[in-house]
């Protein structure tokens, strides 16, 4: 059964069946990645462009690797090397790119809605690799994959997103994806970083990090943006670390040393996670990197073989 859409713009409204199909497909690719020859010819002859208007080495490399493992021709187009600085509009850029016979576009952009805009001005399959504070579906899919890998299921699993929920595309995609497959989702962070109407998405709001640790099976800890305008949302990094940082002492106090912690990386050590907790995550973070490639291979494969 194919996916119900020829683009992956986000996880909002994506049916459970699609999510499970992607996760199951990722599992088979995960096995491919364990082989000595990690390449399959599935997307041979297809061209995928990685259109990055925001620097994100991790996500770009993950996509690029996924594309190469599927034998697609991967082309990188990032803002610094492009004609964007010359004032070329996004529409012109995408038209020019399409003239080069591109099959799929992976796009990262600081403005929400840009992937949807691209579906209207070009014919390629569009994959959202993060648009503003909107969605980052492949990150959420890989988080879900990792949870399922560790806990054996997603349905009924209690997951708390911790940190700056209001400005996080990772949080939003996780909320939509996890809710679709029947997980219980909560959010925890300073109240200034929790959007006003988030409860209407069926999400519980927790302000006490100990309670969040106590009540959940998984903590998905977001990176706090130290550099951004973030500073107007909490008084100081020290205060954030003291009240929302996850430390070994807290985990011990609540008696949840074994709680599954995910982090999209890179970690601000001593802020959202203490150094000790971060060290304990080394293995899972490495696994997440591999899972990320597998999930992206699954998405590229399912979309690229649709038409």
């Amino acid at each position: 059964m194919p996916l119900s859409s020829r683009h992956l713009l986000g996880l909002q409204g994506v049916p459970k069946e699609d999510i499970n199909l992607i996760l199951d497909t990722a599992k088979t690719f995960r096995e491919v990645l364990e082989r000595p020859i990690k390449r399959v010819p599935t997307l041979q002859g297809k061209t995928v462009i990685n259109l990055f208007y925001e620097s994100s080495t991790r996500t770009r490399i993950s996509f690029e690797l996924a594309e190469k493992r599927l034998s697609a021709d991967a082309v990188n187009f990032s803002v610094s090397t492009s004609s964007v600085s010359k004032g070329e509009t996004l529409k012109d850029t995408i038209r020019n790119i399409e003239a080069m016979k591109v099959d799929m576009v992976v796009v990262r952009h600081p403005a929400a809605g840009t992937p949807l805009f691209l579906t209207k001005v070009c014919d390629s399959n569009i994959i959202n690799a993060g648009d503003g504070a909107h969605e980052h579906p492949t990150q959420a899919l890989l988080d879900m994959y990792s949870i399922k890998e560790k806990l054996g299921k997603l349905e009924g699993v209690k997951v708390c997103m911790v940190g700056d929920i209001a400005h996080s595309r990772v949080a939003l995609s996780n909320i939509f994806g996890l809710k679709a497959v029947g997980a219980e989702v909560s959010v925890c962070g300073p109240s200034t970083m929790i959007p006003k109407n988030i409860e209407e998405l069926g999400v519980k709001v927790i302000y006490d990090i100990d309670e969040a640790i106590r009540e959940n099976d998984v903590l998905n800890v977001l990176r706090i943006q130290l550099e951004r305008k973030a500073r107007e949302y909490f008084p100081s990094i020290r205060e954030y670390a003291a009240f929302f940082g996850i430390t070994e002492e807290r985990l011990e106090k609540v008696g949840k040393e074994d709680i599954l912690i995910l982090h999209p990386g890179p970690i601000n050590r001593g802020v959202e996670l203490s150094s000790g907790v971060a060290d304990g995550l080394k293995q899972i973070i490495l696994t997440q990197v591999t899972n990320g490639v597998a999930v992206r291979m699954a998405v590229l494969y399912l979309l690229g073989t649709m038409n």
Partner: protein, 430 residues
């Protein structure tokens, strides 16, 4: 030239005129006879059969952005006037955020001169502060003397309470309103209304309280100074409630609303169509319901388009980067009749009050009269004509509208003013 408008329905709520099947004789643009036309009157006259159509005092849009001087590629004074005529208006007030701003007698005179020979009367609203910078009040007396009908820093609110105070005090001398774009700049800067939709769309939010705070400030200051405040493009529930309360207390406050703010909610933004990006942003169903209530009970005095032409490049782009605003002159009457008349919210008389009478009263412009000897200043409209919006046929130089292809019921079919008639898409001297 002799013109006879036959079988029409005359409606003028202020003059308490409501007469069907009337013939009117115009000679050289002046009302020469109403009803009881003799055989002789028909001699050499051009006749227009207006069965099923109404004649109202010419409609007036008190919030239009002409882009001249400065951005003639988006709209000129003439193209804006053509757009107004095609939309059913015989008069407009144009906002001062041009380049340069309308903050000197020269710019006021320039605009008036450019529009002088047009069917549509253009009344400039001048800047409330020099360069709309919010630092010093503009030369209001001189601007008023040259034809400015109100003062506004539209695009933004007057920056500080102190300057607002002076603007209200000073403009009070001429009985002209200060027209406010109500938005607290420290809370502004987003792309859409703050709510569940902004969260799920990941777009930077503008809270409704940003409008409410300035509406509240402005009402308090109008009360304190005795000045006259007009709230432009009101969009929130709380703001409507505050204006209602203030009016009860006798505060000199009036308000206008745009058709898009009573027609659409922020659900329309879900498409990321940049033609749903405007400031104030589209709000929630709750806000729209209160606006409808405010239109009904008279809290909201006027309907105005906030006609804001933008180039294709400025709109066909990422949502966050697109400019705010839509064109509105040519969909305004259709949306008003569709949403308010056919949904039984306002009567035709109430609609004429909000489209023709109140905006002029707010700006101290004489309301056209249906009397023999008066210059004919009419809008001819058919409340039941069903039509589909086709932006490509509009007279505006810009095309930024979310209403293209929308089916509407009710249309302005012609206008008469300044010895000219615009009918069936043609402008003729009469």
């Amino acid at each position: 030239m002799k013109i006879i408008l036959k079988n029409t329905h005359l409606l003028h709520p202020e003059q308490k005129v409501d007469r069907d099947k009337i013939d009117i004789l115009l000679i050289d643009g002046v009302i020469s006879k109403i009803d009881n036309l003799k055989k002789d009157d028909f001699k050499d006259a051009q006749e227009f059969d207006l069965r099923g159509k109404y004649i109202a005092p010419g409609f007036f849009d008190m919030h239009v952005h002409l882009r001249e001087p400065g951005r003639e590629d988006k709209e000129t004074i003439i193209s804006g006037c053509n757009s107004a005529a095609n939309g059913g208006f015989t008069g407009i007030a144009c906002m001062p955020n041009t380049e340069p701003a309308i903050d000197s007698a020269e710019v006021v005179t320039f605009i008036k001169r450019k529009a002088a020979s047009h069917l549509v009367n253009v009344h400039p609203v001048a800047a409330a502060t020099v360069g709309r910078k919010g630092e010093v009040i503009s030369p209001m007396a001189e601007l008023y003397e040259n034809g400015a009908v109100g003062f506004s820093d539209d695009g933004v609110a007057i920056k500080t309470s102190a300057i607002l105070r002076r603007a209200l005090e000073y403009s009070k001398m001429f009985g002209t309103p200060v027209i406010e774009h109500c938005e607290d700049e420290t809370l502004a800067g987003g792309s859409m209304n703050e709510g569940l939709n902004s969260t799920t769309l990941g777009l930077p939010p503008i809270p409704s309280v940003a409008e409410d705070i300035i509406v509240s400030r402005d009402i308090l200051m109008a009360e304190y100074t005795g000045g006259i405040i007009h709230i432009a493009h009101i969009s929130t529930k709380k703001s409507v409630e505050m204006v209602r309360e203030a009016k009860k207390k006798g505060t000199k406050v009036t308000a206008e609303v745009t058709p898009h703010h009573f027609t659409l909610t922020d659900d329309a933004v879900k498409t990321y169509d940049t033609n749903t990006k405007m400031n104030p942003p589209l709000r929630t169903r709750e806000d729209v319901n209160e606006i409808i209530k405010g239109l009904k009970d008279g809290t909201i005095d006027a309907i105005a388009s906030d006609h804001a032409p933008h180039s294709i490049e400025e709109k066909e782009t990422e949502f966050d980067y697109a400019l705010n605003g839509i064109i509105g002159l040519e969909t305004e009457v259709g949306l008003t009749l569709t949403e308010l008349y056919h949904n039984k919210i306002l009567s035709l008389n109430q609609i004429i009050e909000k489209l023709a009478i109140n905006p002029r009263k707010i700006l101290n412009i004489p309301v056209p009269k249906f009397d023999v000897g008066e210059q004919a200043n009419f809008t001819i409209f058919d409340p039941d004509e069903v039509w589909t919006v086709d932006i490509s046929k509009f007279k505006s130089k810009s095309v930024n509208s979310p209403f293209d292809k929308r089916l509407l019921t009710g249309k302005a079919v012609g206008v008469i003013n300044n010895n000219m008639m615009f009918y069936n898409g043609e402008m003729v001297r009469i």
